[in-house]
Amino acid sequence: MMNYIWFGMMVIGVVVGVFTGNIEAVTQAAIDMAKVSVEIAIGLIGIMALWLGIMKIAEESGLISLIARGLRPIMIRLFPDVPADHPAMGSIVLNMSANMLGLGNAATPLGLKAMEELQELNPEKGTATNAMVMFLAINTSSVQFILPATVVALMGGVSSQIFIPTILATTCSTIAAIAAVKFLEKRKRFALPEADPANAEASTDGEGGND
C-alpha cells in the first residue's frame, strides 16, 4: 500500500507538474522537503527527550500502570492481542489523553514509546500488528476536547462556536476509525502473514518482499 501511494504521489507530481508548467516548483519542493524532514526530526529530539524522561519517572513510580488499570475494560476490547498489564497499554492511554487535550508535543513521544512497546509483542517485525493499526487509527482520528492552539489563534472569539462541532465530528471519526480497523483486519488482503498460511500464494500484490 505505502509503495503505491508513495510512488503514485511522486509520479502524479511530476506528470501534472510538466503539464501545468510547475515542474520547477516540483523539483524545488522535493529538495526543500528533504531538508525540512531533517529539521523536523532534529527539532523533535529535545521534546522527545523531555517527555520520555518524564514518562520514565511516571513509569518507575507506577503511575502509568495505575492509569492503565483504570481503563482496562475499554483497552482489552480495543487491543485484545495486548496483555492487559503490558506497559504498552499505559503508553497508549497516555498518548490518547495527550491527543484529547490537544497536547501534540507530548502526544508524539508517548505514541512512539507505545509503538516501541507494541513492537516487542510483534512476532513479524516488519509487518504491522492489529494492535498497532488500531492504535494509529485512534491516534489520527482522536476525539478533541481542547482545540489546537493554532486554530484558537486564527479564529479568535469564534473558536467557542466550533467547540461542540469539533467534539462531535471527532467522535464520529474515531468510531469510523475503530469500525474500519475491525472490519479491514479480517479481510484476506490485509491479513497477517502467519494468520492464513493457506492463502500465501493467493496474495500476489507487491506488498511483501520490499525489505
Partner: protein, 182 residues
C-alpha cells in the same frame, strides 16, 4: 454557556503541561521514593535515537507529499469534483482543506488561514474549515513516523482505515457545523 466552557477548557489547557512536569516527579519522589533526576536522564536518552531513526521515513513521505502539492494536482482534482460536491451539499471552498489535511499539517494550516482571511473567521467556510482542521490528523505523516520509528514496512490496513476516518471526520465537520451553526 458554551462560550465559558470553551474558554475554561482552553484556560485549563495552559496549566496541563506545567502541572504534569512537576506533578509526576512529585508523586514519584514523595510516594514511591524514585530517584527522579537519574530516572529522567535514563528516559530522555531515547529521545535522540528515536528522532534520528525516523529521518529516512520523514524524508520519503514529505518529499512525495511536497512534489504532489507543488504540481497543482490538487487544484485539478478540485475542479473535477466541484460540481459533484455542490450537489451533495459539501462546500467546494472546503475541499482543498479536506484533501490537504491527511497530507500536510503546514499545508492545511495555510489553507485554513486563507479561508479566514478571505471569508472572515465568522463565515461558515472558516468555521467548517477550523472544525475539519481540529477533527483530523496528518495521517500520512503519523503513519510514516510511527511505523518508521520501529521499522515496520508493511502497514497493512492502516492507511485505508486512517483515510476513511479522515473522510468521515470531514463529512461530520460539514454536517455538524451546518446543523448547529447554520
Amino acid at each position: 454557556m458554551i462560550d465559558s466552557i470553551t474558554w475554561g477548557l482552553n484556560e485549563v489547557a495552559k496549566y496541563i503541561i506545567p502541572l504534569l512536569l512537576i506533578g509526576i516527579p512529585l508523586y514519584a519522589m514523595s510516594i514511591k521514593r524514585v530517584k527522579v533526576y537519574e530516572t529522567f536522564v535514563v528516559g530522555a536518552k531515547d529521545g535522540f535515537t528515536i528522532a534520528i531513526r525516523i529521518i529516512p521515513y520523514l524524508v520519503a513521505i514529505l518529499v512525495a507529499v511536497g512534489m504532489f502539492r507543488a504540481s497543482g494536482a490538487l487544484d485539478l482534482l478540485l475542479q473535477a469534483l466541484a460540481p459533484v460536491l455542490t450537489f451533495v451539499g459539501f462546500p467546494p471552498e472546503n475541499l482543498p482543506l479536506a484533501l490537504m489535511r491527511p497530507l500536510s499539517g503546514s499545508g492545511s494550516l495555510g489553507l485554513l488561514t486563507d479561508l479566514v482571511n478571505e471569508h472572515g473567521a465568522d463565515s461558515m467556510y472558516a468555521k467548517i474549515g477550523a472544525t475539519m482542521f481540529g477533527s483530523s490528523e496528518t495521517t500520512f505523516y503519523v503513519i510514516a513516523v510511527y511505523f518508521g520509528s520501529v521499522g515496520v514496512m508493511r502497514s497493512r490496513h492502516a492507511i485505508p482505515a486512517g483515510l476513511f476516518a479522515d473522510f468521515v471526520g470531514a463529512i461530520s465537520a460539514v454536517f455538524f457545523c451546518k446543523l448547529l451553526l447554520g
